[in-house]
């Protein structure tokens, strides 16, 4: 039973999070930061694009330098 539950959770983790959990965590942080900035009344549209511009190169760098 525990093995099946672990396999089920593993499937969804792989389906949603994928190869680099830091990317998924970074997206959550970026959306949270967007919410906080927008609540302050300032323009917040730039937060997610900046996060993308940081997350993708960092993830690629880790993928090409970890071996």
């Amino acid at each position: 039973m525990a093995v099946k539950v672990r396999a089920f959770l593993g499937f969804w983790y792989d389906f949603v999070v994928g190869d680099d959990w830091r990317v998924a965590a970074g997206v959550v942080v970026a959306l949270g930061a967007t919410w906080l900035v927008s609540r302050s009344g300032a323009a917040a549209w730039w937060v997610v694009p900046v996060a993308v511009a940081i997350l993708l190169p960092v993830s690629l760098w880790r993928a090409t330098h970890r071996r």
Binding site: D14, F15, D20, V23, V27, S38, A44, V52, L56, A63
Partner: protein
Amino acid sequence: MTAWPLFVAVFLACAVEAVEATTIVLAAGTARDWRSATVGLTAALATLAVIVAVVGPAVSVIPLRGLRLVVGGLLLVFGLQWLRKAVLRASGHKALHDEDAIFQTAVAAARGTAVRPRAFVPDWYAFTLSFKGVLLEGLEVAFIAVTFGSNQHDLPVAALAAVAAVVVVAGAGFAVRAPLARVPENTLKFVVGVMLTAFGTFWGAEGAGSRWPGGDAALLALVPAVAVFALLLVAVLRRVGAPSPDGPVAAVVPAATTAVTEVR
């Protein structure tokens, strides 16, 4: 967004998933047993229909802002993962996605497993290989169609695009009874990764409370900006760092079961 860009975006994304599912079913049918593979395909489609029937109406009652936050976040995660793989492939740091190689590997692995009838199918391995492949890829097709359609208030067009992609790709695959190696899948994956990242960025930020300058027209700047950025990263990665030992010349996937999870 008018109906055509929505149709094209969903069609391309779903076509990529359909190519992968078709390869797995063809491998299961060719190497093992067509009846079991077909039952697996049918069972997966029925499961997907139930999931869509349950989740689809639920999605439509979620407030648009909440939907855009969740869907935008998920699309952004998916898009960045796709783009990451596409950039690594295009720059030579990861083996190209090769449907022929995946098909041959899956067939070889399938032929090495004993035939074991179970329940209503003569070959349980062919059934599960086909079922898992279609369900996994089908979930992505359903997710893309439902989320894009809901966000743009045009579910019929999104559903039509998804069905059209599956029918065209699966029809071509079963007509030639061979993997669709001529489909420029790596290029398609790059394009789809760019679109998912751009749409995820747009919807996620809107869902989190921000307003884009120019409204929906911001997408017209976001999509090419993401594409140019990804191409720049490909150029940079080609210049710096040697390709990994398991780069383009290495085997694509080690086993059929890996193919099911690795094809995404």
